[in-house]
């Protein structure tokens, strides 16, 4: 069968003419799918772009002139595969991360003041409720705090024992601290992701979970405060808690943005609203994860190594201040914001 035989159908001649180009594209796609685009020479990259556009053009023409289902299916699948190769993500990971830190996250925080207020209010309300209830009736403490978490630090414990849990921990061998820090990080981040993702159920579970975290903290603090250890407990919580508690509140804010998008989508459809608010919500969770990583390092190492209450307060709130400066100042177009 000679190429472009005169007695062939128009669509068959079309195919005979263009098939070598499609085959070339298919070869290039196969290489790109196994080896990646980075292995392409200049000629190959140029050929990929040209043959891709030719295949797209062939598909468009074939839909008009051909009724050969095998050909139409092939072209469609070929174009789909080529599209996935040509439009593969090409941003460099480092540039992407740099932009996330300088612009993405701070911007997302500044645009989320309402949801952030929800997150922090949930935590503060929880802490107040936990504190007041536990002060009135220590029995509440046992309702809020699971026994394995309390670890003997109950209202019935002596002031001396409670003080010993705040200072001079016996098990401060450096290598066990590392294990503790990694446990704290993975555990807390899991909770933060859960707090965020639950926001899709109208933000209520996120709020409740954050509120419960506040309750725990309040009840815990009340136990120490009643033994006259309020200041020391505050310092003990501050060194990592400023960062850690803020991270949970920020994750809650991310969840609240999702929940609000579904509950109050405004002029958009719910699906569009979810997608729109999702952009900032995800950045908030990334920020929360980052803060939890820092908090775990502080909690795992510094809390045991730093034994003075004043130093603990200074470190805790100092780091909190740095976070605040970063999210408020970084990436502003008006200049002046550097960090």
């Amino acid at each position: 069968m000679s190429d472009a035989a005169p007695d062939q159908l128009r669509s068959a001649r079309f195919r005979l003419e263009r098939e070598p180009g499609w085959r070339r594209l298919e070869k290039l796609i196969n290489r790109a799918e196994t080896g990646g685009l980075a292995s392409f020479s200049y000629e190959e990259a140029r050929d990929l772009a040209t043959t891709y556009r030719q295949a797209m053009n062939s598909l468009s023409v074939a839909r008009d002139i051909s009724l050969d289902l095998a050909l139409l299916t092939y072209l469609e699948q070929l174009c789909a595969r080529a599209y996935l190769v040509v439009y593969a993500p090409q941003q460099s990971i480092t540039g992407m991360i740099a932009r996330l830190f300088t612009h993405g996250i701070p911007g997302a925080v500044r645009r989320s003041s309402g949801p952030l207020a929800i997150g922090f209010v949930a935590m503060v309300l929880g802490a107040f409720a936990g504190y007041l209830l536990s002060v009135q009736d220590p029995g509440w403490y046992f309702t809020f705090v699971p026994p394995d978490m309390a670890d003997g630090r109950t209202p019935a414990a002596s002031a001396g024992y409670l003080r010993s849990t705040l200072y001079d921990d016996a098990n401060n061998a450096a290598d066990s601290l590392g294990a503790f820090a990694s446990y704290l990080f993975s555990h807390n981040t899991q909770i933060a992701i859960l707090v965020f993702a639950l926001g899709v159920f109208l933000a209520v579970p996120s709020f409740l979970l954050t509120f419960y975290n506040g309750l725990l903290m309040g009840a815990f603090f009340a136990t120490f405060a009643q033994k006259g250890l309020g200041y020391d407990a505050f310092a003990w919580l501050s060194i990592h808690g400023v960062t850690e508690v803020s991270a949970i509140c920020i994750a809650c804010a991310g969840g609240a943005r999702l929940g609000l998008a579904i509950a109050l989508p405004g002029q958009m459809t719910r699906r569009d609203a979810l997608r729109h608010h999702g952009r900032d919500a995800v950045k908030l969770v990334v920020l929360a994860g980052l803060m939890l990583m820092v908090a775990a390092v502080i909690e795992g190492f510094f809390r045991q190594l730093v034994q003075s209450a004043e130093l603990r307060l200074l470190i805790g709130w100092g780091i909190g201040g740095l976070w605040l400066i970063w999210v408020l100042r970084a990436g502003r177009n008006t200049g002046g914001g550097t960090l």
């Binding site: 797209m56 050969d68 095998a70 294990a179 990080f185 899991q190 992701i193 899709v200 995800v282």
Partner: protein, 313 residues
């Protein structure tokens, strides 16, 4: 009856037609079935946990790390294979994890652009609430009280229904990210049947009136039969039944010997395709045998015509 069958789109073969790349030529992907996605997810869980387990055993066997560092490393690894693994894998392999590679599915951006890191992160963060937490709660379901058990049940039902209930099989994470999970396209180019290699087929000639009956649907059904002829002892009977039905329907007058029927079908396919393609060039697209030609099109009424009783193509 046929119309009703047409309305009920079969779940696994559902196609997305409106995918528009920047080139402006719409292409279609097949939406992955929920079963394939669940299978990919289970494969991913098995692969990652097995990998961590083997790695841990290797380290213990080599005995190069103290037990506490081993514990720390293990905790970090278990954390990493939960959400970060999926984000990294889909970033590096352009929308595929190992499980998705095995199940031959992938993530694409629904707007026709590149898959962005934001989309990958968003859809996988939601995995925590849509897969991991419900599954671990289900495994511990025996210990739950009535209220928490009920809440867990509702939770599982909601996250299971969402991808089944929408047309594009999106779960919450897909909706937030604006992504779709589709089957990996495969390319196989079959030979063109119109370039006939059967010399016997040239014997048959067709008049224009023979070719006015059928449309695109019947032509492509015939193409499928020719490409994949019925097999087994009765294959001859099947082919000649198809040929007989066509001869009767188009009113083909010349006698066709029983042995020539495959050649007849090939010749008819070519002639019919040539005819329909040339009609199409003139703007006359004929979808199926219910198309309207000439006078019938001019006398078109607002009411749909009553369809003739269903005959063989």
């Amino acid at each position: 009856m046929k119309a009703a069958a047409h309305l009920r789109v079969p779940a696994p073969g559902h196609r997305l037609e409106a995918f528009l790349p920047p080139e402006g030529v719409p292409i279609s992907f097949t939406i992955a079935s929920v079963g394939a996605r669940l299978g990919a997810q289970i494969m991913d869980v098995l692969i990652t946990y097995l990998g961590v387990l083997l790695f841990a055993l290797l380290l213990i066997w080599l005995d190069i790390l103290p037990i506490t560092s081993l514990g720390a490393l293990f905790i970090i690894l278990i954390f990493l294979i939960r959400i970060p693994y999926y984000i990294l894998a889909e970033l590096v392999w352009n929308g595929r994890t190992l499980g998705k590679k095995i199940a031959r599915i992938r993530v694409i951006s629904a707007d026709g652009r590149r898959l962005t890191p934001h989309q990958v992160t968003a859809r996988n963060l939601m995995k925590e609430v849509e897969f991991f937490t419900p599954v671990s709660l289900l495994f511990g379901a025996g210990d739950l009280g009535l209220v928490s058990g009920l809440i867990t049940f509702c939770w599982v039902v909601v996250v299971a229904i969402v991808p089944l209930a929408n047309r594009r099989r999106q779960r919450f994470g897909d909706m937030i990210a604006g992504t779709l999970v589709v089957e990996n396209p495969k390319t196989t180019l079959l030979a063109d049947l119109a370039i006939t290699r059967q010399p016997g087929a040239a014997r048959f000639g067709f008049l224009p009136v023979h070719l006015e009956i059928y449309g695109r649907y019947e032509l492509q059904t015939l193409e499928a039969i020719l490409r994949d002829p019925p097999k087994g002892p009765k294959s001859h009977v099947e082919v000649s039944r198809v040929a007989d039905a066509i001869i009767r329907k188009i009113g083909y007058a010349d006698p066709v010997a029983p042995g020539d029927k495959p050649d007849f079908l090939t010749a008819f396919y070519r002639a019919q395709r040539a005819h329909l393609e040339s009609r199409q060039l003139f703007g006359d697209r004929r979808e199926d045998k219910f198309h309207k030609t000439g006078a019938r099109a001019a006398a078109r009424t607002p009411n749909p015509p009553i369809r003739p009783p269903n005959a063989n193509p």
